[in-house]
């Protein structure tokens, strides 16, 4: 495409001559004989270069130049000046003319000026293109960024996991609907208003912060199961993951992911409950045998008493009455065991001294055990003081195990052997107390050990409910503890129980 020129001059003769010469040089040439017409053509044709005389009636060349420079279409302007018009010429440069040439216009001067203008034009065009590209690129990148941020926003919003992110001073800046659901606070109450510590317990924050140092290496916390308190004060079970975000070694914020475990916990509980009910159901068959024996005992007791009354035999009356009493106790054991095992019971932490409980249990059995020449003694760790634990559970557990241990000694019954049952307490690290109940009685072989935690399995014949160890284990597990057993047939058995405790909260005296 040839370069389009516009010549503006009131002197038509010089214009047409110049036009002829320029056309022969390959330019497309437009002409106007005054400023106004020149601008009209400019607007219509959009020439690349304008050559205008400076002195014209009406609109002069400077004005034409100014008007053209205000237009959106870019063109180079060459000003043609008369002799001694140097001031005007300099003004024209100020207003953005690319060059000025003197009259009369000489072909070689004009060609140089045109070439210069053409160069400027090319540079300007390139600059324009570049700017346009840049603008386009910025727009594309901006769009992408916006899409990405939208994507992230959607991701966070629709996440099943609660996400709570904070800035470097732990003010919450991201708080998604799942977090809203778990914690109960609406987003508008939390965003930029609450700090992490307002949402998470001190304990959790401590764990969060304790790991902070490590995080600089790992930058990640492992998830752990814990509870968070929601707006209504309820404890919600969650799987918690906390991450500190660093940039160039400086903390820039933190993010916590919370997975609501309420439903999972409920299902777990349901499964546990149904398993327990199934065990109870299964055992009804096994229980029948125990119940039959108890009923037979009652019949026996009442028969003896009848005979005693009839014959005025106090000995018979006494043994009949004892038989009835024994079976009442047996019935009550069985029913209580069944209740304990099948019922869901909350662990009740109360202030107590585990050593006292152990001593009490030993004391309770001492007399009956000594009738069989069995010594019952407690070895207590003096480091254990008053703590918060479920006293009733511990009592029941120790009663069950000590009574088992004594039975194991009675059942062994090797003449001349001296039998002992010991209860040891031991304070372990991490708020755990270990109880050991050991006997040197009959012991258990592998077969018995495999079956001892199953329902209605009893080695005690008429004496056991077949539920004792099952109940014992349930109480221990409910208390968050563990039970282990070491036994050898003919040597004896040791039960080891580990139970967590909590410190007593010292109340301030006022």
């Amino acid at each position: 495409m040839p370069t389009k020129l516009l010549l503006i001059d009131d002197e038509q003769t010089s214009t047409s001559l110049l036009a002829l010469s320029l056309k022969s040089d390959g330019y497309e040439v437009l002409t106007a004989d005054n400023g106004r017409q020149g601008l009209e053509i400019f607007d219509r044709e959009g020439p690349d270069i304008v050559i205008t005389d400076i002195r014209m009636p009406g609109m002069d060349g400077i004005e034409v130049l100014q008007k053209i420079k205000e237009r959106p279409h870019y063109a180079e302007v060459i000003i043609v000046t008369g002799h001694g018009d140097i001031d005007n010429a300099i003004d024209s440069l100020k207003y953005g003319a690319s060059d000025f040439i003197n009259k009369p216009v000489r072909a070689d001067t004009l060609s140089v000026a045109l070439k210069r203008a053409q160069n400027k034009l090319d540079i300007q065009r390139k600059l324009d293109d570049y700017t346009k590209n840049l603008e386009q690129e910025v727009e594309t990148v901006t769009h992408e960024l916006r899409m990405q941020s939208k994507f992230m926003e959607k991701l966070i919003k629709t996440s099943e996991e609660g996400i709570v992110a904070t800035d470097r001073i732990f003010t919450v800046v991201i708080y998604n609907p799942a977090a809203e659901h778990i914690l109960g606070y609406p987003a508008e109450e939390v965003l930029y208003r609450k700090k992490a510590k307002d949402l998470f317990s001190l304990d959790l924050m401590r764990q969060y912060q304790a790991k902070r140092h490590d995080d600089q290496r790992r930058k990640k916390l492992e998830h752990f199961e814990t509870h968070v308190r929601n707006r209504d004060g309820e404890m919600v079970p969650v799987r918690f993951t906390g991450v500190f975000l660093y940039e160039k070694g400086r903390i820039m914020g933190s993010v916590a992911f919370l997975q609501d475990l309420t439903e999972i916990k409920r299902l777990e509980k349901e499964v546990l409950m149904s398993e327990r009910l199934a065990t109870v159901g299964q055992t009804v068959a096994g229980m029948a045998h125990g119940v039959k024996n108890i009923l037979h005992g009652f019949k026996g007791g009442s028969y003896l008493m009848e005979v005693g009354f009839k014959n005025n035999d106090t000995e018979k009356l006494k043994s009949g009455w004892q038989m009835i009493q024994k079976n009442i106790a047996h019935t009550s054991d069985l029913v209580m065991d069944l209740l304990t095992y099948s019922k869901d019971r909350d662990v009740a932490y109360v202030p107590c001294d585990p050593n006292d409980i152990a001593a009490e249990v030993c004391e309770a059995f001492a007399d009956s055990a000594s009738e069989h020449n069995i010594r019952v003694r407690a070895t207590l760790d003096p480091a254990i003081g008053s703590v918060a634990m479920d006293k009733t559970s511990i009592h029941t557990v120790l009663m069950n195990l000590v009574s088992n241990a004594i039975d194991a000694c009675i059942f062994d019954d090797v003449p001349g052997k001296s039998y002992a049952v010991t209860v040891n307490t031991h304070l372990k690290k991490d708020h755990v107390i270990r109880f050991e109940v050991a006997d040197n009685g009959t012991g258990m072989d592998k077969k018995v050990q495999d079956k001892m935690f199953t329902s209605f399995f009893s080695t005690k014949g008429h004496k056991g409910t077949g539920l004792g160890l099952l109940v014992t284990r349930k109480l221990i597990e409910d208390h968050g503890g563990s039970i282990a057993v070491f036994s050898e047939a003919g040597k004896g058995t040791t039960f080891i129980i580990e139970l967590p405790f909590e410190e007593l909260i010292k109340e301030a005296h006022t």
Binding site: H289, G297, K299, G301, G461, H462
Partner: protein, 130 residues
């Protein structure tokens, strides 16, 4: 002296009950607290009747029952089973033991499932011993 009846049961209360029933009805009771002891007493001085429990530590009633019923000398001693185990279960156990290469044994003269009244026990024994 009434006819001698052996009671084999690991539960002292059950023995006491049976003993009282037997004494009240003019029999002479003797006691064994497990299968081993019972067998020994039978061999030493056979009783007129045996009241036998099934589930006992140290030689169960199932074994003792077979030993007596397959012994030429003792197989005619009537046995009354007194147990919390259902009669069906006891008979099945004997059938299984026979299948595993034992001699067939006759059913017990009477089978009483606990709980049993004193009168019922007495009537059963009287009926067998005439």
């Amino acid at each position: 002296m009434g006819k001698k009846v052996l009671v084999v049961d690991d539960d002292p209360d059950v023995r006491l009950f049976s003993q009282a029933v037997l004494e009240e009805n003019g029999f002479t009771p003797v006691m064994a607290k497990n299968g081993e002891e019972g067998e020994e007493m039978i061999r030493k001085d056979p009783p007129e009747l045996i009241i036998l429990d099934v589930l006992m530590p140290r030689e169960s009633g199932i074994r003792l029952y077979r030993n007596i019923k397959t012994n030429k000398k003792f197989k005619n001693i009537p046995i009354v089973i007194l147990s919390g185990i259902a009669e069906k279960s006891f008979l099945r156990s004997q059938k299984v033991l026979t299948e595993f290469g034992g001699d067939p044994v006759p059913d017990p003269e009477a089978y009483l499932e606990k709980p049993v009244d004193g009168e019922e026990l007495a009537d059963t024994i009287k009926k067998i011993l005439g």
